[in-house]
Point group: D2
Chain length 346, copies 4
């Protein structure tokens, strides 16, 4: 049962590495042969996730350079396992000596130690958010794979709220950072910096949208697409909830309010909108071809008060979680695109 550290059934990403150990990395298996390797895409994904790139995020300085050890030859995948390694450079294990004695509230330090008897306390070891860079590596390869068969498919993610602050996503299509215009962006950054000064943190809600997703992805009973996506999101440290389409709000409605519209005023356009806003682009566990819409809740960062002021921590994890959510989404989709090759006799 050693898939404790592995994502995916066919397109599989195995994650290894401790936050303050030698390196973190991924082994990507099941990626077909002949896919063009895009180094710039990979590095760009890592850059979006890494700390130290914006105000209000952890000041740990890590260049996070990806090194390819195997699986790529003459610019294309070989169909063999792709091993990608990122060395830890700004590791400051000494910062965490106190943790060896007094685990931090809300962190996993104590539960890991209890579970395994022996654990690496430095910066959370393997329970650190730093592990998510491996997801980003896996997601980048999933994206390279999907790009060839489904060039229009795209995963985007947005901040919907940060603590008490609601954020109106102004433009889902333009390439705006966090989906908001410059002024709003500045306002958010100011809010986050204020929290850092106070030694406080906030949670938030992120929205993930997949456009131009093919039909027929998902296996109908145990590996429903919605189950695999939610599991992928809930495998990220700070997540506390996931919704598909209408989500929790549907629970409070009547069937005639929800499905009735589909029957009575059905047109292609309305149908499409309903498929996404109500069903989230997934019915019977399978993608319908309409945009997939999901939302993910994150609790406030656990590092608060003195710890937050002193350490290199994020007052809110959600902005940095966006590329991770996108990566997990690409990985799940790549897995199911391959899986769907097995559905039919020919």
């Amino acid at each position: 049962m050693s898939n404790a550290n592995r994502f995916g059934e066919i397109f599989q990403v195995t994650s290894f590495g401790e936050s303050h150990g030698e390196a973190l990395g991924a082994v990507i298996e099941g990626c077909p042969a002949g896919i063009r390797f895009d180094e710039a895409l990979l590095q760009n994904c890592l850059d979006r996730r890494r700390p130290g790139t914006a105000a209000g995020v952890s000041a740990r300085q890590e260049p996070d350079r990806a090194e390819i050890l195997s699986g790529i030859f003459e610019g294309r995948t070989l169909g063999t396992p792709i091993c990608v390694v990122v060395r830890n450079q700004d590791a400051r294990p000494k910062d965490y000596d106190a943790v060896a004695i007094a685990p931090r509230a809300g962190h996993a330090d104590d539960v890991w130690r209890e579970k395994f008897g022996h654990s690496d306390h430095r910066g959370g070891g393997r329970s650190s958010g730093r592990e998510t860079l491996v997801r980003v590596i896996g997601g980048a390869f999933a994206q390279m794979f999907l790009r060839e068969s489904h060039p229009k498919l795209i995963v985007n993610s947005f901040l919907q709220s940060l603590g008490p602050m609601q954020i109106l996503i102004e433009d889902r299509d333009a390439n705006l950072r966090w989906g908001v215009r410059t002024e709003k962006f500045a306002e958010i950054e100011k809010f986050l910096l204020g929290l850092k000064t106070e030694g406080d943190s906030v949670g938030g809600v992120a929205e993930v949208v997949v456009n131009h997703v093919p039909k027929n992805l998902g296996q109908p009973v145990a590996h429903k697409l919605k189950a695999d996506l939610t599991a992928a999101y809930m495998s990220i440290g700070a997540t506390t909830g996931v919704e598909l389409g209408g989500g929790f709000s549907l629970a409070h409605k009547k069937g005639t309010e929800v499905h009735g519209t589909v029957d009575s005023e059905f047109t292609a356009a309305a149908g499409s909108a309903i498929e996404s806003s109500v069903y989230g682009g997934i019915r019977g566990g399978i993608s319908t071809g309409e945009p997939i819409v999901m939302r993910v809740a994150f609790k406030p960062t656990s590092s608060i008060l003195d710890v937050a002021k002193r350490g290199r921590h994020d007052p809110c994890i959600v902005p940095r979680a966006l590329p991770v959510l996108e990566a997990m989404t690409y990985m799940v989709l790549a897995d199911h695109v391959l899986w769907s090759r097995l559905d039919r006799a020919t």
Copy 2:
């Protein structure tokens, strides 16, 4: 990739069967040898889920008798696969001839046909809610297993809301149906009957609570306990969202509101309450030993209007989903109890 129909990594339940085919059933693998088989428990679980037992639920008459084909000998498990079969008796495939031509809104009829090219349209075939009886079988065996090593562990589930109706869970410990006293129960039944008369339906929110859960369950990266539980719930047809502990509400809070309390006024009792109400009994993906608390949202049943009045459908799926949620929870816990046997050197 044939685990499309299988739940669990070690304690595995493979589900087979179509709603209006010969039979449905489960093969349970990975259940250790020597577990006492409790036929009454199994049948009781099936009875709680089956249609036709209460006002306001589907009138399909199925005795749902479980037949054991293998894996049990002299009242105890053999460590070999346990095959359990439930024959379909009140199958009325003719009722669904129209579906072959016109798939039902909100159902999976059309997506299955599209995906596989060939599908069993009768009563939803394998996408039918009837498939969940297999989960209940698997859950009953998981419960038998857990009972021996963790006799106090118990999974309960409650209705938290049904459409617009909020339900105060009056007593989580007493064995009240749906966690409410008789008067409230009658009120709910009346509400559901009213909906059926109108040809309408509602969604709802269910709460799942696990008491006396052992520490150290969950694998820390890809098979966090929260990820496996969420995936298990999202593998049920009508679910649209899942929350752990404080869930979405935490996303709107500050760290000092959430974690601060833990640090400042920490006492054993408060700590325990916070672990469950905030973290849901799971931190770092691993159970802390405090009660696990999760909530699951369901959309309104898709069968509405004429279909609802004519057919044998539930105006709200949530009451019948409770034993399914409990079963999925038992299965995930059994899986992780076995998995935790592999954590340490000795």
Copy 3:
């Protein structure tokens, strides 16, 4: 780790049932949708394996009728799990009461009891050769699947030796029973009957040949086609050795004798013969398109002396093992045919 009873990675066959329990059966997962179901083929495969059909084989009378519980609709597979059950009818558990006290030499009775603490001693329980009927069911479905995409592919198996008796396979193509003409067949049957009278048994060697196998089957490192076929054969009770192509005889040769011929006198025809007789149709773990040739050794049946005279046992297991070897071969090939759909980008 509950794949203790499951064969295959994509085309998966899960085996359940005890020899003298209620039933044995298979759940076949990963069989694509739309495959024509051939009931006659399935029953014919079961008939070839079952006891009581020829002199010199066990006299247990079992009609071995297959019942389909799921996964087939209107004569074609649904892409959902196919459950097939065979009820035990001539179970005589009382015959084995002595085994509960004194396990039989060479059987697995004692090791099972030791391992699991609790075991079904009746007729070997799950370690009985009767379990192999499940393989035959799985193989029949694999054959139905392969027939559609590779209509000429055929697996044949032959007796190469029975104890001290060498058997010249007279015709690999004609549909001769055991590959020999009638006179030879009668001679073999007489030999086996003689052994039964003496209360003795023999081992034997079987040859498996696959013709018209597609190229490119097999995954090159851990799931080499030769590794999967060997494991499949060694999962059968009485097997003690497996060879590919030139097998053990190659170990005693020089490279110039073996490979030299390929280089020096290479022609299409010779190349083909060498590919099969030397490399067995598999190089680098992958099928080359030439016939696959393997040989499997079986030890003599353990039931000898008084047990053999009294009980319903085979003096030699190899004749009845042939359809099991063929079935395992079809299953491995179906698995790899599906797997090869995932090799390339498009």
Copy 4:
């Protein structure tokens, strides 16, 4: 189905890397926490396998230094994935430019290219024997794990024959190289050097013996210990056959010759000898506690004639395959020792 490059079900070793790429390596998952890391053992295993250490083996000069990237902290395993990397240093990809045009006879160059469309031809790429260093890494960790729970368990392997030369294993217990005394060793080396001069090669048979193996290892149907061991050996490039205990010789015997002795003259000592020499220490797919004895056949190295004289190739692969066979054996045993933790209720 991305376990194309993964060995084991619980104790899993994922292999990556091309022969003339950046590096090869392993990710070891499922190794419990708290195991003492023995760097000297790991390096010693690598040294035994690596080229350039004895006359008559490939002259490729590779120090094969293992670098630990993750999973070890303060000298003990963390229960997290262990990534070990070995950089390629004496890679001479230019040597293989001709292969890009003319694949080598008996090698896998052409089948890989055919299968994947795009392949790394340099030194066989991933089909190179160099990939087996990853098995040796995995085996070293399996040995570290087994040493703690079963300190006396030991896997040894011996040359039984090299081409036409039979080798009498003089001492299985003493730490003799290849199990033979110095004079014999010199004779073998001379024989191999002669072959290299002639541009020829030989096959051979190796024997693997496991002493002090615990009872109860193996899962009884699909993961019989004999099936897993043979699959492990058949996953090595040049293997063409595997035998357990009496192997093919049993096929030519009568039951009374084989099993009769057990019944008639059974004593503890004789019983033990029979269990190993006849049954190979495995009955019903499960280890009996007696020594496990297996034999593996290898075909002659494919690199002959001019290629052999020019290149850096082994005239016989078997001597260097011994540590690989041992490593695969340790890996399978570690897997089943962990798996057996799941057999019983408590």
